[in-house]
């Protein structure tokens, strides 16, 4: 957790709405993430998590509402802003014909303060398959490369859309340790996940997104208390059961 003088939230999404034709993805979503904390965003498929992340990283513009990431509007923000933000998209976004060994140092060259690529890759077990092209990697191996790509620029804010999906337990444990270290270094770390265990292990704060809104937010204990539940799983189902998507 951060100490000293209070800083503005690294991520501020306020009253966001977003529709795609007849489908409404966000209905007044409000969410914040702080420096030095892991914020886990939970919610059913189609609840609006990915849309919110894509708005926060500047890939989409909301129909209404306010977005601030590191004090800037992300849509159309310049290279200096993107230099401070790391992104792991749900579909990976990795070029398929290159190897991790070529890709990660290349991505590092785009950033002003890159991490030690070899060290990061080593932490994620990438050297074992670094000479294999991305298209031939397993789903879990691709996840690790995509996570490294998000962290390679030493971001002040990082958005990770389901970073541990498809990972085996050992890899998931290592990713959790790594993300705690990243947050401890001051990075606002926003993680979308379907795993209660992951949220309980990782999160300083959680937000449960239901039907385009944040139904509950706070520490795990606060969310559980608010829902009158003994654990996060029980709270999640109490908040999401009966909501039509």
């Amino acid at each position: 957790m951060s100490e000293g003088a209070p800083r503005p939230d690294a991520v501020e999404l306020r009253d966001l709405t977003r529709s795609f034709g007849a489908t409404t993805a966000l209905r007044g979503l409000t969410l914040a993430a702080r420096h030095g904390e892991v914020t886990c965003v939970l919610g059913p498929n189609g609840a609006g998590k990915t849309t919110a992340v894509e708005i926060a990283v500047g890939l989409q513009r909301p129909d209404a509402g306010q977005v601030r990431v590191l004090g800037r509007r992300p849509y159309g923000a310049g290279a200096d802003h993107r230099d401070r933000v790391g992104v792991m998209l749900q579909d990976g976004g990795l070029p398929q014909a290159v190897t991790p060994r070529a890709l990660l140092p290349h991505l590092a060259r785009l950033y002003s303060t890159p991490v030690d690529v070899a060290e990061l890759a080593g932490r994620l077990g990438i050297p074992a398959f670094e000479r294999t092209t991305v298209r031939r990697l397993s789903g879990g191996q691709r996840q690790r490369v995509a996570l490294a790509a998000a962290l390679v620029g030493s971001p002040e804010v990082v958005f990770l859309d389901e970073p541990t999906a498809g990972l085996d337990p050992h890899a998931r444990r290592e990713v959790h340790v790594l993300l705690r270290e990243v947050a401890a270094g001051g990075t606002a770390t926003v993680v979308t996940t379907h795993s209660f265990e992951e949220a309980e292990r990782l999160a300083d704060r959680v937000a449960v997104v239901v039907d385009g809104r944040v139904a509950a937010a706070g520490s795990v204990d606060e969310v559980c208390a608010g829902a009158g539940a003994a654990g996060l799983e029980e709270a999640y189902f109490a908040l999401t059961d009966g909501v039509s998507l």
Binding site: R82, P95, V115
Partner: protein, 259 residues
């Protein structure tokens, strides 16, 4: 881990360095892409060698009728290569990169979408330079003797032609599903290679005056005038510029960053 989460004020990597780094990355990717090299190098070489060994169809027509067959053939093969790399290859790559989310991810890096497009254009020009030099050497071995005075107009024609064809590639690859792009881009390549005024001058084809308005025909004619006659073909260069402008404007409307 070192450096993650640093909050000191940052000065980003200069835009030129980012674009050049990405252009190098893209160019190496193009050169390592086997299927792409088949279309952009192997097929033009086969066309060059094959058509140089036979006497029909007639290539030396109109204002090039006094020239040797290889002197008319070689510029057409260079135009075919530009079509392969700048249009077919880029359209297919763009279609699949949209599918894989590559464009969206790179758009979130300091490179950005504008930098990515600039890097792609640079990479195409670099790869084309290497391909055209290789084809020039092969053509030279087969007896091609280009007019040196045509070098500058030829470079201008290749740059304008590449930009027009890359813009058309963005219209196709940036708008349709990857599988549709793959099918259509290859079909267009076959049609334009046969009837687009590249290998065979438009003047040698039925409806030649209409076909000569195609960007491939304009590129082929500009290169033939440059290397056979040592002359500038202002009409063809203007046509290429107009195609580039119109296709660029259309691409701005059509290009979607995800599939």
């Amino acid at each position: 881990m070192t450096a993650v989460g640093t909050t000191a004020p940052r000065r980003g990597v200069p835009a030129t360095r980012r674009v050049l780094a990405q252009a190098r990355f893209e160019a190496l990717g193009l050169l390592r892409h086997g299927e792409q090299l088949l279309v952009s190098v192997a097929l033009p070489v086969l066309a060059l060698v094959g058509l140089s060994l036979v006497s029909s169809p007639q290539l030396a027509v109109g204002r090039w009728s006094d020239a040797a067959r290889i002197d008319v053939l070689a510029p057409g093969v260079l135009a075919l290569t530009v079509l392969s790399t700048a249009f077919t290859g880029q359209a297919i790559l763009l279609g699949f990169e949209r599918r894989w989310g590559v464009l969206r991810l790179l758009g979130t890096t300091p490179l950005g979408r504008g930098g990515l497009l600039l890097a792609k254009a640079t990479a195409v020009l670099v790869v084309l330079t290497l391909q055209l030099l290789l084809l020039g050497v092969v053509a030279g071995v087969l007896g091609w003797r280009p007019d040196v005075a045509g070098l500058l107009p030829a470079v201008v024609a290749v740059v304008l032609g590449a930009l027009a064809l890359v813009s058309l590639a963005a219209c196709l690859g940036g708008a349709l599903r990857a599988e549709a792009v793959l099918a259509l881009a290859n079909l267009v390549w076959v049609l334009l290679a046969g009837f687009g005024g590249t290998l065979l001058p438009a003047a040698a084809l039925p409806g030649g005056s209409l076909l000569s308005l195609l960007p491939t025909a304009a590129l082929g004619d500009a290169l033939r005038d440059a290397f056979v006659l040592g002359a500038w073909n202002g009409r063809a260069l203007l046509l290429l510029a107009v195609w580039g402008l119109l296709a660029g404007l259309l691409a701005r409307r059509l290009l979607r960053w995800s599939d």
